[in-house]
Amino acid sequence: MKGNEALAEAAIRAGADAYFGYPITPQSEVIEYLMRENPADRTGMQVLQAESEVAAINMIYGAAGCGKRAITSSSSPGVSLKMEGISYIAGAELPCVVVNVVRAGPGLGTIQPSQSDYFQAVKGGGHGDYKMIVLAPATVQESVDYVKLGFDLAFKYRNPVMILSDGIIGQMMEKVELFEQMPRSKEEYDWATVGKKPGKNSVFVTSLQLQSEEQEKVNLRLQAKYREIEKNEIRYETYMCDDAEYLFVAFGSCARITRKSMEMAREKGYKVGLIRPQTLYPFPEQVINEMGSRVKGVLTVEMNAGQMVEDVRLAVNGQCPVKHFGRFGGMIPSPDEILKALEQKIIGG
C-alpha cells in the first residue's frame, strides 16, 4: 500500500472518531483515501475537508475536547499553520494525533521529501513551553502502527502526538500488515465537554489562566508530565552497536539509507553501528550517551542542514566528535555519499 493511504486506513482501524484536514502535497492521499473509503459507513468516523489547516486543527481541538479520537494530517507549510492550534491543544491538555509528511522548506520550498521540520516538531513549534510526543516512522508499516500507538500515547498523557513522516514514506508503496479494526471508544472522560451532568460542575476546556501563579502551576504540571513521558516512552532501535567503533544516528527514511551505508562500511572493515530514534521526543539520550563513551565518533545523517545533530551532541556531551551529514531541499542522500562522509568526517577526521 502507498504510505499515505495505509496511514489513512490505519486511522479508520484505530477507531478514530474524526479526521479534519486540508489537501497539500505530498500527503493529499490521506484525505482522498478517507473520502473514497467513506468511513462513516464503516465505523461512523467523521471526515471533513476544512477551509484551511488553521480551521482543521481547531476542529481537532473541538472534537478532542469532547474526548474523541481526532486525527489530522498535513505537510510542512500546512503544519506551520497548525502550530497555533497545537499550542492551544498542548495548553488545554487535549489528546490528538497530527501527521506531518515533511517536504523541504523554508517557505513553499519544494514538494520533495525532507526532514527539515525536526526542530519545529521536537522543540515545540508553536508558542509557549510545551512538548509534543514525536514518533518517526521509517517504514509504511511503522506509519500504520504509530497511528494506533499515537492515539494510545495521546490519551495516556492527554497530549498532542506528532507522527513526523516524510515525502518518501508518504509516497512509497510497501507491503504492510494492517491491524484489525478496533471499535470506536465509548468512554466518557471527566475532562471532556459532552454535556453537563446533573449534580456535577460544568466542564470547561481552556488554556487560559489570567493569574501568573495559576499559569505557573499549569506549566509545572506540564513539565512534570513531560518528565514522566521522558521516563516511560523512549523508543529506538540499534543495529550492530555491540562492537561498534563508529556510530551513525539517523531517523525515519534517512535511517534506512544509512543502514545500507552501515552494511557497506562493515564490508570495508569499519566497525559501524546505527541508532535509529523512533521517538524524537522523548529523545533516546541515554543510549546515545553510553555509545558516545565507547565509540571514536558519531555521524548524524539527516535530510536537513543539521537539526537532530544538536540533540545528539547534547547526549554525547563531548565524549567524542559528533558530525552531521545532510542533503536538503528535497535531495535524498545516497548510501555511497553517506559512507564517504563517514570516512571523511569521522574515520579520517
Binding site: A55, N58, G62, A92, G195, V203, V205, T206, L208
Partner: protein, 255 residues
C-alpha cells in the same frame, strides 16, 4: 415584615436561571454582555437543554464566558470558535452547540472560519456581539467600527480611505445558502431584550431541525471603549450604530 420573610415562593416574580453560575461578572458597568449572557442562559434553561449544550467561548471580553454559563464549554483560539464548534458538532451531532463571539473575533481574525462554517451550514448557533470596538485589549478599531468613529488605533476617527470600511458580516453571511436564520437584535431596552430572547430561543429550536447555521447578532454598547456613560452609550448606539446596523430579521426560514 423583614426582607427575609418576603423571600417566599408565592412572592417570586423572577429568578436567576441555573444556567448562569454564581460567579461575579467581570464586565464593565452598563455593558451589554451580562444581559446577552443571561438571555442565552435563560433560553437554554427554558428549553431544558442545559445537559445537552456545549458552548464555545471566544477571545475578547467574553473570553471567560465559560465561568458564567453553567454548561460545558470550550475556550477557542482567537477567531477559531466556529471551527472548534464544527469539531464538537461533528462528533456530537445530537448536542446543541453555540459560539459566543465579538466583532474582532468573528469578523476580523476569524472571518474565514465564520464564513465557511456558515457556508457548510453547520448546525450551530453563532451569537455575535457587535459593539464596534475591541473592548478587551483597550478600545482599538474593530472591523465593525463606524466611519469617523474614534478608537485607540483610529484616534482621529476611522478614515475609510486608508482603514477600510466597516464590515457588515451579518448581511454577508445571510447570503450563504448554509444559513437558516439570521437576525440582528439589541439588549438596551426591555423590549429589545425580549426580542433577543425570542430570537435566541428560535435559533436553538431550529438547531434541532438540522437546517443549517443560525446567526444572532446583538448590537451592543461599550461604555468603556466608547468613553461614555452607559446611558450616553445607549443613546449613541441608537443614533449611530442602528442606522448602519439596522435591527431586525435578515433571513428567516421559508414557511
Amino acid at each position: 415584615m423583614s426582607e427575609n420573610n418576603m423571600i417566599t415562593p408565592e412572592n417570586l416574580v423572577y429568578e436567576k436561571t441555573k444556567v448562569m453560575t454564581d460567579r461575579v461578572l467581570h464586565y464593565c458597568p452598563g455593558c451589554g454582555h451580562g444581559t446577552a449572557h443571561r438571555m442565552l442562559a435563560e433560553v437554554i434553561d427554558e428549553l431544558g437543554i442545559q445537559g445537552d449544550t456545549i458552548g464555545v467561548a471566544p477571545v475578547g471580553c467574553s473570553v471567560l464566558a465559560y465561568y458564567y454559563f453553567n454548561v460545558d464549554m470550550q475556550e477557542a483560539a482567537h477567531g477559531r470558535a466556529p471551527a472548534v464548534a464544527t469539531g464538537i458538532k461533528r462528533v456530537l451531532p445530537e448536542k446543541y452547540v453555540f459560539t459566543y463571539q465579538g466583532d474582532g473575533d468573528l469578523a476580523a481574525i476569524g472571518t474565514a472560519e465564520t464564513i465557511h462554517a456558515c457556508n457548510r451550514g453547520e448546525n450551530i448557533l453563532i451569537v455575535f456581539i457587535n459593539n464596534g470596538i475591541y473592548g478587551m485589549t483597550g478600545g482599538q478599531m474593530a472591523p465593525t467600527t463606524l466611519p469617523g468613529m474614534k478608537s485607540s488605533t483610529s484616534p482621529r476617527g476611522r478614515d475609510v480611505a486608508t482603514m477600510g470600511n466597516p464590515l457588515k458580516i451579518t448581511e454577508l453571511i445571510a447570503q450563504l445558502p448554509g444559513t437558516y436564520f439570521v437576525t440582528r437584535q439589541s439588549v438596551h431596552t426591555p423590549g429589545n431584550v425580549r426580542k433577543t430572547r425570542r430570537a435566541l430561543k428560535k435559533a436553538l429550536e431550529y438547531q434541532k431541525l438540522n437546517k443549517g447555521t443560525c446567526f444572532v447578532e446583538i448590537v451592543a454598547n461599550c461604555p468603556s471603549g466608547w468613553k461614555m456613560t452607559p446611558v450616553q452609550s445607549n443613546k449613541w448606539m441608537e443614533e449611530h450604530m442602528f442606522p448602519f446596523y439596522p435591527l431586525g430579521d435578515i433571513k428567516v426560514p421559508e414557511k
